[in-house]
């Protein structure tokens, strides 16, 4: 199966045409540099994204604390992750980078605060 994707490794944004078989990249054209190959393989075989959202607080100086995953997580887990984030109520003060939920969803990444809340 042919699939068209845009390489976002750099601002050139090469239009890649990828040959996909059983979820694996078997052919590639359109990339102007080797980064396109790495990108296509990752993007087709296991796309990953940093997820950013907010957590509701109780009795802190801001109502919503922005959070993100410490590293990218599989794209297929985004909605499951956001549902989990919505369940969290934060009442302890946090600083930028503090862990809000360790080993989030068992994915080996932490959910971290991206803003101070006191």
């Amino acid at each position: 199966m042919k699939k068209k994707i845009t390489c976002i490794d750099c601002p050139q944004g090469c239009q890649l045409e990828v040959d996909v078989e059983n979820g694996y990249v078997v052919g590639l054209s359109g990339n102007k540099c080797p980064k396109g190959e790495v990108y296509a393989k990752q993007e087709i075989e296991n796309p990953m994204r940093i997820l950013a959202s907010t957590v509701l607080t109780r009795a802190l100086n801001i109502k919503m604390v922005p959070v993100r995953t410490s590293r990218p997580i599989p794209k297929s887990k985004l909605f499951e992750a956001i549902e989990e984030i919505k369940k969290i109520r934060l009442s302890r003060p946090v600083h930028v980078g503090d862990v809000i939920a360790p080993n989030f969803l068992g994915l080996g990444v932490d959910l971290i605060s991206t803003r101070d809340a006191i």
Binding site: R49, I50, T54, M64, P66, V96, R115
Partner: protein
């Protein structure tokens, strides 16, 4: 009247970078005014990553990017921070009037840096015909409601304009459980970053219509639907929705400079009045905050140089 060597208006990324660099270039008496109750400006509501790739060589969210500068400023007693301070008047003599809760203050500055950012263009500026129901938001306002106030403005969304804020909000609404029906763009390409088209629209199969516009908006109390027209062929279709987001660009906010009868000069950060500088999005609309930081630091240096020459 209070007297200061340097007053910086606005403590978003531009104002913070300008204040820090002015301090580092030798200015020791700086007043930093911010109308909000926090430093950071618009970065506080930009919770997505993609900031700092050039300046810090790291992928940071908006609040994380702002935090680096906030922490630095808070260690510098030479920079006095005045929050909830809203500048309302500026004269050619560099007298600035600002409001704080319960009081009005005047300050005479030897040098001034305006870092007042942008406003969003509105529905009225793109002439969308139809009724005037509830449910029409500028993209940045919707971003503030969701990310700072924890409120979801609607469930079925149509976005006008494919600039970065509109794209970012398409993803944000989708993740929060709303259905983004389409992004409508009158140009033949997006003005947003490619990574945002990929990660905010393509990731969630949100259609992007180029060379289309909203030709009519329907709804009595609340938006009910929009009519979309292809500008080249005239063919039309309708989309039901309860919310329309307007993401059609930004306008530098320079009322205070205009009030003083001063013009922005061609050269970066300069105005027609020596000692009055303008930086960040109020100088020109930037696509990356990294460049705001870089250029605003130069405004701080220029202000320091001006003050040195005064002596």
């Amino acid at each position: 009247m209070d007297k200061r060597d340097l007053v910086v208006v606005g403590a978003g990324p531009a104002g913070m970078a300008a204040a820090i660099s002015a301090f580092e270039s030798g200015v020791k008496d700086i007043l930093l005014l911010e109308r909000d109750q926090y430093l950071g400006g618009i970065l506080n509501q930009c919770i997505h990553p993609g900031f700092g790739l050039h300046y810090f060589k790291e992928d940071l969210t908006g609040p994380e990017y702002a935090d680096r500068f906030m922490k630095k400023i808070q260690t510098l007693p030479e920079i006095e921070i005045s929050l909830r301070s809203f500048a309302v008047n500026l004269t050619k003599g560099k007298v600035l009037i600002y409001l704080k809760p319960g009081e009005m203050r005047q300050v005479k500055a030897k040098a001034l840096i305006m870092a007042t950012g942008c406003r969003e263009r509105t529905r009225e500026m793109v002439h969308i015909p139809g009724t005037r129901p509830a449910g029409i938001y500028s993209a940045g306002l919707a971003q503030k409601m969701i990310n700072l106030e924890g409120l979801l403005p609607g469930k079925e969304i149509v976005i006008v304009g494919s600039g970065d804020i509109g794209l970012i909000m398409a993803r944000r609404f989708t993740l929060e459980g709303a259905k983004v029906k389409a992004v409508i763009e009158i140009q033949k390409e997006t003005s947003g970053l490619i990574r945002n088209v990929v990660q905010c629209l393509e990731d969630f199969d949100i259609p992007l219509y180029f060379r289309h516009k909203i030709s009519k908006l329907y709804g009595k109390d609340r938006v009910e639907k929009v009519e979309v027209t292809a500008v080249d062929t005239g063919s039309r279709f309708e989309l039901t929705c309860d919310t329309v987001l307007i993401s059609v660009g930004l306008i530098p906010e320079n009322e205070l400079i205009e009030m003083a009868g001063v013009k922005i000069a061609g050269e970066v950060n300069k105005t027609s009045l020596p000692g009055l500088f303008v930086c960040g999005n109020s100088y020109k609309v930037y696509d990356l905050v990294d460049w705001v930081t870089r250029d605003s630091a130069k405004a701080g240096e220029a202000a320091a140089e001006y003050l040195r020459d005064l002596k």
